[in-house]
Symmetry: C2
Subunit: 564 residues, 2 copies
């Protein structure tokens, strides 16, 4: 028994489990994947080595990390997918534009882009550490050279390898200078895929030479900048390994990453519960294969107990050597020892907790630096001319899911500023009644949209006005969506509204590819803005760029409300 | 100076200001009304006597209360409008059906209703105290005998005075047994108004005899049960005071409440920033008038400094006596001394915070006790017959505002259970494209709704199926809405769908008045459920009552997702 127990703890230390960032079991948003507290406490007591967190406010996360530190009884790796500032996942912290914005800026102003990338990393590292995270699962090192990529997309730092390499290195320097570990992902490069490994196993048909030219430079740069960890991709690369996905491939992890690229830090798998892995390998077998291939840590196995038991059995059966696990555990300890803060340090009493205030100055600087304004047919610079006039008009807002849109609270600037200027808001999402006609040349059913505005309470409206339309499109690639907003005929809508002289203005929030498709179609007089970020601060910037919200229009009633 | 300074602190101690329940200024949802931390800290240091909190999770609220206790430097009144369980306002705590459900139960099973009302109070008190609140702004003692009441409605405990009186007394006993103060509101009774005092000053034309018969019994009962505080209503009652609203009326507060009803506890105004007051009186004058009338505490003055300065000036100018303020301050101290916990007691270190787990057993018992199931034309009891069949079908969901619907997250049972059974969800809210036709006899544009289901990505659908419709209506009165869902032709919709043999089932969440309108129209075979609560647990109960979600249907994709 005495020999088995430490082996189990050794194996457990290489497992990173998933939990909610909130304290209460009842608040879990994905209870299927987020461990209940009793399970979590049991696994941490058994030596599980880390936790990946999602959900809850910045303040809740701080409590959660303190709690986990106490439950762990050993220094833990506490991580989160905070690729776009800590506020992307944990409200109350800084929410920054997606990294691809700095790649776009890089082509115009390289020095400024690199400077901002470093500050982006500093801000993320500072806030992560303040909340108790010691491991930031960023930067995304994938080169997004495939606009159809549904899952990487604007999470990448650039579309070109050289720019991405410089930017991720700058981010890593800033991030790790704040005393947290970074993570270069998804090795050896997930940028050129048009399918989502959350849903299936993508195939990358490139040979080694092509990888060297496109995919690998950002990883080499992050490693040279001292990135502490690398995350594997669930991709099949037949040129390197015709059988196993990169996550489970010795050729990729040991041959390429460790030996050729000389990476000595921690190698962590992407979530093993993703379909690309879990559809083909059981939770125990996937963990054993990952360690055999050269990974140090297994992230989110579908069943943590099964993963630990399988690792133990693999050592006992001679399939994995104990030294192999010891080496990974040592790399984990070394990474934790690099950190300036002992996670078990005594913590403050609750009444002394001070809030984190987000760095809105940096967030706004990034929005401005990465945004594009178009006026009278000219891109960039100040808006000239009158911009968007006051209403009456329609404020047509497209988004994926109005029930899961943290960027669009009921009083979001995209609604409030437009409404104050006289535009009635109309939301289109995947659960709306159809806005479409049968005519591909005029896909919007304008007669129906002219009935807009508090429609639900007004079944019979007396008049149908042909109002000008402010079009605001929130479109970006997101995991599990399977597309990046494609399939909707926005180009035809722009042309339809312009033919009818009804396009008052256009804002695209998110996808640069949609902007690139629509911008050339615009009449000279149509004011338009592209903004990579979707958060409220970005909306204010975009609509102010169009001339809305600069002075106080008549207040809508919402502004007077004070309860719900 | 030495005499002025204590007078200012004395006046300040009678003011209750408004703040967010979250720590960070950046997270305030109503920054126009919620003090920034620097202001809040200054006012508390100056002796402000209490804070009303809204927003943030249960966990955040606990930190916030601890922080305010430290800033106060004196015991503070910390309160919130948690009328429907603490989870109504602070996610993570128990979210209970609106009180009117127990009034409905009371007519069928008086003992059970009273027993549940006391447990309702106990649950609310226990959780409030656990989070640091010491003052619960409940029970609503208004008798909702006006179904058109836009603001009280289901917040009331009953439509009949005697039932309301028994129920609020039971609630008060349970609540205050847990060591927090209760608050009987809105004196002398806001139940029979058809306008919202958040927006204008309602008028109650009743004479004293009628008040005695309808409005006053619940207040008398709460006072007899020992309720610690009473909140005033912003109502004009010409029979008692032709000039001043109740909040500012000596006839109402001193004559009726103190002298006739013999209430010796704390009298607090409703929020002075509400339009009914603020449109007619400045923030300083309103505070002075309230104290002159007999109030002890002024809640949410539009400007706390102005209110304090006006009270000081009124004493210095001889308009109010210093003794008058001293008496109120003494009542405030007495109320705080009744509490078992010293709010300044040293608090736990943050890593020791344990989550509050909501009392879902009570929440579900209330849902079941207050719900109504109808099958084969028979109300109540078990559902008989096949219930709702599996789809394909449409799941037509009506709500006020999908961007401010805490009861309807993207994976809410009202969506997920229906979708798993093959019903495609379609959401109608105030920002949707119009679902209406021009025909009052057939108000739903069914041809358009048949295009439903991921519409946004499918501009041209090949087929338009005439699918059965599951109708789920989330309708209840809410402050600031100005109506309780009226104006929409749901009765005609029910008849239209039944004529077309397309009404698969009906659920009304919230308004008993809408249910009472629709239920008699239903065909014998149409299964239907009424559920007063709108929260996810209520949705599960309602749809399971219709036969959905009892066994596992095919999983929708959402269930496999694990990130956003």
């Amino acid at each position: 028994m005495a020999a088995v127990e430490p082996l189990q703890r050794l194996a457990a230390s290489l497992v990173v489990v998933r939990a909610s960032g909130q304290l209460s079991d009842a608040q879990r948003r994905y209870p299927q994947w987020e461990l209940a507290n009793a399970e979590l406490q049991r696994l941490l007591a058994a030596g599980v080595g880390g936790v990946i967190l999602l959900g809850g406010s910045a303040t809740e996360l701080r409590l959660r990390c303190a709690q986990l530190g106490r439950w762990g009884g050993q220094p833990l790796l506490l991580c989160a997918d905070v690729e776009e500032g800590v506020g992307q996942r944990f409200p109350g912290a800084s929410w920054l534009v997606p990294p691809l914005g700095l790649g776009m800026l890089h082509s115009r102003d390289r020095q400024r882009a690199l400077h901002l990338a470093e500050r982006y990393g500093r801000c993320t590292g500072r806030e992560a550490r303040a909340l108790g995270l010691n491991w930031v699962l960023a930067p995304v090192c994938d080169v997004n050279n495939n606009p159809a990529n549904p899952v990487i997309n604007v999470r990448a730092w650039a579309e070109q390898p050289a720019a991405a390499a410089e930017l991720v290195a700058a981010f890593c320097r800033g991030l790790q200078a704040e005393g947290v570990l970074g993570c270069a992902k998804h090795f050896p490069g997930h940028g050129d895929t048009s399918s989502d490994s959350h849903l299936e196993l993508p195939l990358l048909p490139h040979d080694r030479q092509r990888l060297e030219a496109i995919e690998l430079p950002p990883f080499r740069a992050a490693i040279a900048a001292g990135v502490a960890t690398v995350m594997t991709a669930h991709l099949l690369l037949p040129a390197l390994d015709p059988q196993r996905p990169a996550t489970l491939s010795a050729a990729v992890l040991t041959g390429l990453l460790r030996q050729e690229l000389g990476f000595n830090g921690l190698v962590v798998t992407d979530a093993l519960m993703m379909e690309a892995i879990s559809a083909n390998y059981g939770p125990g077998e996937a963990a054993v294969l990952a360690l055999e291939a050269g990974a140090d840590l297994v992230l989110m196995p579908a069943d943590a107990d099964a993963a630990i038991a399988a690792l133990v059995a693999a050592v006992q059966g001679g399939r994995l050597s104990r030294e192999r696990l010891e080496a990974s555990a040592q790399r984990r300890r070394t990474a934790l020892e690099r950190l300036p803060i002992d996670p078990l340090e005594p913590l403050q009493p609750i009444e002394a907790i001070e809030p984190l205030e987000p760095d809105n100055a940096l967030a706004l600087e990034l929005i401005e630096a990465c945004g594009i304004r178009r006026s009278h047919g000219v891109l960039g610079g100040e808006m000239v001319g009158p911009g968007l006039g006051n209403g009456p008009g329609l404020n047509l807002v497209r988004l994926d899911d109005s029930l899961a849109a943290p960027f669009l609270p009921s009083d979001a600037p995209a609604l409030a500023l437009a409404e104050r200027a006289g535009y009635r808001s109309l939301l289109l999402d995947r659960r709306s009644p159809s806005p479409w006609s049968d005519n591909p040349q005029a896909p919007l059913d304008l007669a129906r949209l002219d009935l807009a505005g508090l429609n639900l309470a007004e079944p019979q409206l007396a008049k149908r006005e042909a109002l000008p339309v402010l079009l605001q499109l929130f479109v970006r690639g997101n995991p599990f969506r399977g597309s990046a907003g494609g399939g909707e005929p926005w180009a035809a809508v722009v042309e339809q509204l312009q033919r009818a002289k009804r396009l008052a203005g256009l804002v695209v929030y998110g996808s640069p590819y949609l902007w690139q498709e629509l911008e050339p179609l615009l009449d000279v007089a149509t004011p338009a803005v592209y903004c990579l970020g979707q958060m409220p601060l970005a909306q204010t910037w975009a609509l102010q760029s169009l001339g809305l919200g600069l002075s106080d229009g008549p207040m809508d009633r919402r502004a007077g409300e004070f309860t719900d």
